[in-house]
Amino acid sequence: MTLLEVKAVAKHFGAVQVLNGVDLTIEAGTVTGLVGDNGAGKSTLMKTITGLYGTDGGEIRFDGKPMTGLNPGQRRALGIEMIYQDLALARQQDVAANIFLGREPVKWAFGILPGFVDKAKMDADARKMIDRLGARIPSIHRPVGMFSGGQQQTVAIARALTFNPKLVIMDEPTAALAVREVESVLKLIRQMRDEGIAVILISHRLNDVFEVTDRIVVLRQGRIEADLQTGKTQMREVVGYIVGAH
């Protein structure tokens, strides 16, 4: 089932044309690796999907619905989540506040006062999510800035998975992690696929990409250079497309 359709999407920053008409289709329950050199437009393309950037041409449809004009919050509500390379965590806030950022559950205090954030529910759900990810967090009441890179990564992932997403975009999720932590992220990606979630994985670590993806898309100078089945290609071919040797 086609979940995401990107058609002829273009984007420029001032005089710099970053995306030159990108076409991309993503199916539910698949893992797609998105690779390319620095400045190829990977992050920009993903940010046009999440709504952080507008587009200068083309169309993006998610679940059959056009995304034009929807802001990041509205797209998250439809099931598009992204885990950013810089993790996009509010480092002085605690784990629950970060997981529920922008979507805090509210309750009515004493039946009259509106809009009290339901901190107890947030804490409980946050703990459940962290446990489900099999991660060890010293205390969910601590500011996340005090945690290690891997632990922060867990919080960012937990935020993306808490609201039953349909598409999860991961921008370099393994770049800052220790070997053991990389394994658990890759395991998690497979788990998401098995649950029917579509995953787009941006990574420079081709080993990880080959290990976990069904398909590898190469972006080069703002265009799709190649679209390959992971099982039918090899590292040399992918690298060739990345540097433009084909």
Partner: protein
């Protein structure tokens, strides 16, 4: 992590700090400073420890306290509002002008004061979000503009005297023996505390001050939030202006001169970070009390007011330095 943290005593201290930060929403250190200051003043001056002097301190604190609430909301979002003191002055003049000079009904004094404050804050927010001029510059400009407008409205730049009795009650009344300004401060602080610590608005404010990119990426309407915050800050400056005007029974265009300095100092002593992401309304009240006790004590000791300015300025610099050390520690991973 220093070596002392691993010792048992350091650990208990940190746990106590954490408890005060997260449950009481007031920094343990600022409470200790307040207590030490009170003890010192009691020893130094025989007049300090009395009910009437404490009411004096509370009364003086109420204006700064209301401003500090606005400053806390703004600093929590990593913003800055330097126009607080000038807007306070403008609000008092605007309220007095409507009810005294134009002889409009008494409630127009209140609406005029609150409205002109909110308008100034609204303009700040619009300029900051639409033109991308730094908040520091926009509110510094407003500091000059609001003061200038206040001086133009007031006849010959002098104060407008003789407010309606009901309005004066807001500054000089004593319901149940408590000065009305103190009642207004406490009610305002409770509402603001609830908003900052327990509402989505407050959590989004802190998140925006902490990491604006993250707030935007999770769908928080960052620009709208910022406009609302500056308008609220202006409204609170208007409320402080109303209290001040009612207390002295006059709209004085020079009122609130350098109050932003004291209010921002109180806010930072109270545990709100100048760099955003951490803020406490109750802490700001403690901070305002510290400033109030400090000024009152210096008055009792007959220290010239020029030296008080020096003291406040020095406290601000020290408080920001301590905040900076703490923020660096928090931001490091």
């Amino acid at each position: 992590m220093t070596a002392i943290d691993t010792a048992g005593r350091g650990d208990a201290w940190r746990r106590l700090q954490f408890f005060f930060d997260s449950k009481v929403h007031v920094r343990l250190e600022s409470l200790i400073v307040l207590a030490l200051l009170c003890v010192a003043m009691t020893v130094l001056s025989p007049y300090f420890l009395s009910v009437s002097n404490f009411l004096n301190i509370l009364l003086a604190t109420s204006t700064i306290g209301v401003l500090a609430i606005g400053a806390t909301l703004i600093l929590s979002s990593a913003g800055l509002d330097l126009s607080l003191g000038s807007v306070l002055g403008l609000s008092g003049v605007a309220g007095a002008y409507l009810s005294v000079e134009l002889e409009w009904p008494w409630f127009m004094a209140i609406i005029g004061a609150l409205g002109s404050g909110a308008l100034a804050g609204y303009i700040n927010g619009q300029l900051i979000t639409r033109t991308r001029i730094p908040a520091f510059i926009v509110t510094l400009g407003m500091l000059g503009i609001a003061r200038g407008v206040a001086l133009i409205i007031a006849p010959n730049g002098g104060a407008i005297y003789g407010l309606p009795d009901i309005v004066v009650y807001l500054g000089q009344g004593r319901p149940f023996g408590v000065p009305t300004p103190v009642v207004i401060l406490v009610l305002t602080a409770l509402i603001a505390h609830y908003v900052l610590a327990y509402s989505r608005f407050g959590m989004h404010t802190l998140a925006m001050g902490d990491n604006e990119g993250a707030a935007r990426a999770t769908g928080i309407p960052v620009e709208r939030l910022r406009r609302e915050l500056y308008a609220i800050s202006g409204l609170l400056a208007g409320l402080a202006g109303l209290i001040f005007m009612a207390r002295v029974n006059a709209g004085d265009p020079t009122a609130g001169y350098t109050y932003e300095l004291t209010a921002i100092t109180a806010t930072i002593i109270g545990g709100t970070s100048l760099f955003g992401g951490r803020g406490s309304i109750l802490g700001a009240l403690v901070g305002a009390l510290i400033m109030g006790v400090l000024q009152n004590g210096l008055n009792l000791l007959a220290v010239q007011s020029y030296y008080q300015q020096i003291a406040i300025g020095a406290v601000l610099i020290i408080a920001v330095y301590i905040d900076q050390l703490q923020s660096e520690r928090e931001r490091k991973s």
